[in-house]
């Protein structure tokens, strides 16, 4: 009896998807989700346009849509159409602890995949790429790191942009005066109020800050690329079954061309809540990654 049930399940599973596994063989996150009947998605409240809250306080964004597709795949995999989805807001300080301690099953925010983090967590294949560059006031005429000698340069505390500047070949001979904002909007305020002549950060975040500033036409993103950072959906480490569901879903989106449509929906068209257009063209690195998906860490793209 047991054998026959097993056999028929096997056949059924084989028909649905070659990757299906038996419920009793589930491990890691899939097992946890099956047993609890809920999956918890880590979301960001203001990482435009990857993951943020709309005017009804619902999470939306490019990564949220991709995660919803992954959740659909998990439902299918576990044959649980009524799987409950919980949303847990996370910050850049608590996102990794919340994933490792099991509070969050899948983090859909704006997390850079790098070697240090891979010791704690695992990442799905890269779905977005950001370049670390600087924003300046157009009137300052600054276009390169080498023009920053002796000038105050803003960055956000808890980030490593200053080390990146020092490590860059053009930055080695330049003597910066670093000034620090507590968060990205504070750092932008430092630039806005002339406490700094440049603010160094991920270019997509800078584009977002410019768009929401008082006089967007006053600012420009300029200068050398200090670091290329693959941004990916994050999950627990050593959980190949769950990672496979996530990776296969993303590869499916890439193969069908859906990912490009999602990209232009969130980066190249007006988005809620203010209906502004980020106008943020796909970087060459991301174009390459869509041809050849990969979960390589940032260090892979920044070999010196």
């Amino acid at each position: 009896m047991k054998f026959r049930l097993g056999l028929s399940l096997f056949l059924l599973a084989g028909m649905l998807a070659a990757t299906s596994v038996f419920a009793e063989d589930l491990t890691g996150t899939l097992k946890k989700v099956k047993e609890s009947g809920t999956i918890t998605m880590g979301i960001r409240e203001s990482s435009y346009p990857l993951s943020y809250l709309d005017d009804k306080q619902q999470p939306i964004g490019y990564h949220i849509e991709i995660c919803n597709k992954i959740v659909d795949a998990v439902k299918k995999e576990l044959k649980m159409a009524d799987l409950k989805v919980q949303h847990q807001p996370v910050t850049s300080q608590n996102r990794i602890p919340l994933v490792t301690n099991g509070t969050v099953d899948i983090e859909c925010g704006s997390t850079t995949n790098n070697e240090a983090r891979q010791k704690q967590v695992s990442f799905a294949v890269t779905t977005f790429v950001t370049n670390v560059r600087m924003v300046v006031k157009k009137a300052s005429g600054i276009t390169s790191l080498s023009q920053l000698d002796g000038k105050p340069v803003a960055t956000t505390s808890g980030t490593t942009s200053v080390q990146l500047m020092r490590a860059h070949e053009k930055g080695k001979t330049v003597n910066f005066k670093e000034v620090y904002g507590k968060d990205h909007s504070d750092s932008f305020l430092l630039l806005e109020t002339d406490r700094a002549v440049a603010f160094v950060m991920d270019d997509n975040l800078l584009a977002g800050l410019i768009t929401s500033s008082k006089n967007p036409q006053e600012y420009a993103i300029v200068g050398e690329v200090l670091n290329i950072e693959p941004i990916a959906i994050m999950m627990r480490k050593d959980d190949p079954a769950f990672k496979k569901v996530a990776d296969d879903t993303i590869r499916g989106l890439i193969k069908s061309g859906a990912i490009e449509k999602l990209y232009s929906k969130w980066f190249l068209s007006p988005i809620p809540p203010k209906n502004v257009n980020m106008n943020f063209a796909m970087s060459e690195t991301l174009k390459g990654l869509i041809k050849h998906p990969s979960d390589a860490p940032a260090e892979f793209y920044n070999k010196k």
């Binding site: 990794i96 010791k119 505390s157 808890g158 490593t160 080390q163 000034v179």
Partner: protein, 245 residues
């Protein structure tokens, strides 16, 4: 919890550069101590001056002192940091304002020290006032009857006794100054909390980082406590205050 422990992280090199994480924490500790001690000096000087003034018979001085204390006591420390750093320079003349914002040496350190010093001075002023007022009325009268002027009465009669009475709350205040200095990270002072956040972001070993920083803050506050306990013991007047044994 599948956390990847690595207690050796403190001796590892940072991602882009030759320093170790330990050197980050040590330099952070240095700034924490510098901000704390400098603001403690400001706080003691101003606190004693204003606290004393608030017990004099000059009504307008008392009112001025009260206003000062209420101003600095009723605004959260973090907000005061932002006020001094972001708001005050905007009211200066254009050239001076630009100088303060771009050229002033160690502007974050100076702002944070002044801000924390003034904040703490309001609290000390309140304790000094309470200490002086807890002395029997006769002490002041006796001082004046001896022919001392009012300042002399304060200098030789009231303040030495009040100082001894308020040493325990002053100890707490000295410890608080170290703990409150952590707020200075918000305006970009490279102190311990700032370095901890940076180390956690760079190394992803958050638990080790914050445990180490906890120990360092504890040590600072504890040493402050022992120093004050020593002063308390040495300055004790036999027979004065029940604690004297």
């Amino acid at each position: 919890m599948n956390y990847h422990w690595n207690w050796g992280i403190f001796f590892e090199q940072i991602k882009y550069g030759d320093e170790t994480y330990l050197s980050w924490l040590i330099s952070g500790l240095g700034w924490t101590v510098a901000v704390s001690l400098c603001s403690w000096i400001i706080a003691l000087l101003l606190g004693f001056a204003i606290g004393t003034v608030r017990t004099t018979p000059r009504t307008w001085l008392v009112r001025l002192g009260n206003a000062y204390v209420e101003l600095f006591r009723n605004i959260p420390l973090l907000v005061q940091m932002f006020l001094w750093f972001f708001v005050v320079p905007e009211f200066l003349p254009r050239n001076l304002s630009l100088w303060v914002k771009q050229e002033m040496p160690a502007k974050e350190f100076v702002t944070a020290t002044v801000c924390l010093g003034l904040f703490t001075s309001a609290r000390i002023a309140e304790q000094v006032r309470a200490g002086i007022q807890s002395l029997p009325r006769g002490q002041r009268m006796a001082g004046l009857a001896m022919g001392f002027t009012l300042p002399q009465t304060y200098r030789y009669v009231l303040l030495p006794m009040a100082f001894r009475i308020i040493l325990p709350p002053l100890t707490s205040e000295f410890m608080n100054v170290f703990k409150n200095s952590s707020v200075a990270f918000a305006i970009g002072v490279l102190e311990l909390t700032f370095q901890a956040r940076q180390m956690q972001e760079d190394s992803e070993q958050g638990i080790e980082t914050y445990l180490a920083v906890t120990v360092l803050y504890f040590l600072c506050a504890f040493i402050a406590n022992r120093v004050m306990a020593f002063i308390e013991k040495r300055s004790r007047v036999p027979g004065f205050i029940a604690a004297a044994k």
